[in-house]
Symmetry: C2
């Protein structure tokens, strides 16, 4: 924030709670017919057609734990907060229709900051055809906390759970992995440089793709359309928020099975490879343990292999096995490594 222009900014207290909510939500018209009643009453009303299951997910993002306003612009934060919730719905094979947004924000934030946050949320809502139907806005003694609930629909009984993987199923991942993690490494490096010399321009050129993976992830709702086109129903599915390894272990635990994935099959972009080279990191580290890529990880019956082979959106990285005690990464040299969940460390990092 540019302190020399601080007088231009409007304290949120000037509007009061209702003025603020009116101000922020008026830019969110109800565009989907499912959303019968949006913000402005005690609650919102959503109407789904008969034969529809409602799918609902909630995520909380806390300043200093999940984001650092120093390198996460509020517009990007707003976008990402919506995107990661829609990703959870995609992982259930559900189409999102509606979100509620609760924001607690200290008086350090101005109305303009709040608007930037909501602009990012609006962009994500618009891109994915979702309406903001309600929420809450309040002050907090310190920092910012965001809580988003996303609601979507799936034909009755068709939600894809983590529990359905069967031995011999193929393990498939969309896109490529490790980008969001390397984007974060890059931002943290430049933050350290900036701390030492605030006049130094950050050196981010050529790394736009990995930065975008970190700052502006996209939920893979497009993959649901591919499933429909290929008439493919995964046996289990999860989104990669905490890292491939962690998500594989979730599927194995929920489905009561083991698995084998192959290092040589893991999808990794040139951008990630180049940055790993620069940082002296083995690329398998961010690919297996880096989180926040928001790709989909799913399993399919072997009989469905022909439906997706040759589609560049999908990489078959391994298969499900019987033994629930073994979740193995087969390294390029043939070594077998038991997978561990190293992904999510928010509780630890805050100690």
């Amino acid at each position: 924030m540019n302190t020399s222009e601080e007088n231009k900014f409007t304290p949120v207290a000037d509007l009061g709670e209702f003025g603020l909510i009116d101000h922020l939500t008026k830019a969110f018209p109800m565009e989907r017919e499912e959303n019968v009643l949006g913000p402005g009453d005690d609650a919102a009303v959503v109407r789904y057609p008969a034969g529809t299951d409602l799918v609902v997910t909630t995520d909380m993002l806390v300043e200093g734990i999940h984001f650092d306003p120093m390198y996460a612009p509020l517009k990007h934060l707003g976008y990402k907060a919506i995107a990661v919730n829609l990703s959870d719905l995609a992982a259930m094979y559900a189409r999102p229709t509606s979100v509620t947004v609760a924001v607690a924000m200290s008086n350090r934030y101005t109305l303009e900051a709040m608007e930037a946050l909501y602009t990012g949320m609006r962009l994500a809502c618009k891109r994915y055809g979702v309406d903001l139907i309600g929420g809450d806005t309040t002050t907090s003694p310190q920092g910012m906390t965001l809580s988003i609930t996303a609601i979507g629909r799936v034909p009755e009984g068709k939600a894809v759970l983590r529990t359905g993987a069967k031995p011999n199923d193929l393990i498939v991942v969309t896109g490529d992995l490790g980008g969001a993690y390397m984007g974060l490494q890059l931002l943290e490096r430049e933050k350290e440089v900036y701390k030492v010399n605030p006049n130094m321009q950050p050196d981010l050129a050529g790394h736009e793709l990995v930065l975008e993976r970190q700052l502006k992830p996209e939920p893979r709702l497009d993959i649901l359309d591919l499933f429909d086109r290929y008439e493919l129903i995964p046996t289990s599915m999860i989104d990669i928020s905490d890292g491939l390894s962690s998500e594989l272990l979730h599927i194995a635990k929920a489905s009561g099975c083991g698995l084998r994935i192959y290092e040589e099959k893991l999808p990794v972009s040139d951008g990630v490879l180049n940055l790993c080279d620069e940082f002296g990191l083995h690329p398998t580290v961010p690919v297996v343990n880096g989180g926040e890529d928001y790709e989909l990880l799913f399993t399919i019956a072997q009989a469905d292999y022909d439906k997706i082979k040759g589609d560049p959106n999908f990489s078959i990285i391994g298969h499900i096995t019987e033994d629930p005690s073994k979740q193995l990464l087969i390294a390029k040299d043939g070594a077998e490594v038991q997978l561990e969940a190293r992904g999510w460390q928010a509780f630890k990092s805050a100690e």
Copy 2:
């Protein structure tokens, strides 16, 4: 928290995020058939019968703004956090079925504190027949923030909005008002006493009812059953979270009308009258401007008067008028006072 026993407490970091969520949610079995899938996957799945509208509301509670852990025990806080969201659904004439809970909590809180919070939430869920279907648990750099989303069902098109009040409609309120506000005054007084002399026992005897109104409010879901029994459909409805005056202004604004309420008709309990006497406060102040009573405020057609007259749950306090510029309190001496929204001051109080 008893610091001499601190070694008995378990830091939440010891469990990690997934261990913690597992630990806290295992005490919440899915008991309603609508909740097809509870916590443990990317999202929850809810199935309502055909012809049902989904009603959804979100509220955020922030330590230091909405609650003070010094006099709000965490069990009560958990109960209240659920209750106030169910109250929003009741105000739509919706029956709650499901809640999601997101909690951010600093490492100052122990596992035992978290358990107390969830025990309170479980009590409220059990009392009102609601399942906890999902959520998020994370750490925060400071304090606690709770965000609850409650989901309920109403027959298609039957949600009662704030917009339907018509001139000559009667204005009705359930229960009595001002108790939660006076409970807060009492707690704040005793907190000041405690600060001066921590050995002094708080003097709360005889005030259990107003304290309960503040610490453990109940959503008036029982009123929906009365509506059904009387075959009564309010023309508009809202719950009293920010104070009678503020809520009346919401209905007037949303319905584009004026209103008159009569001081002599306002329902007030003996407990509130006694405390007002003790504090030297005019009882109309907490009754009109005190918030958090979570009673229902609604309007009915004059033709429906006979359906509720004589039922002690209801007080008819005034009527709707044509002129949208006049929302009047008629004092006992006949003076006309324009109502103002003084209720909700969280943004101001944090300055």
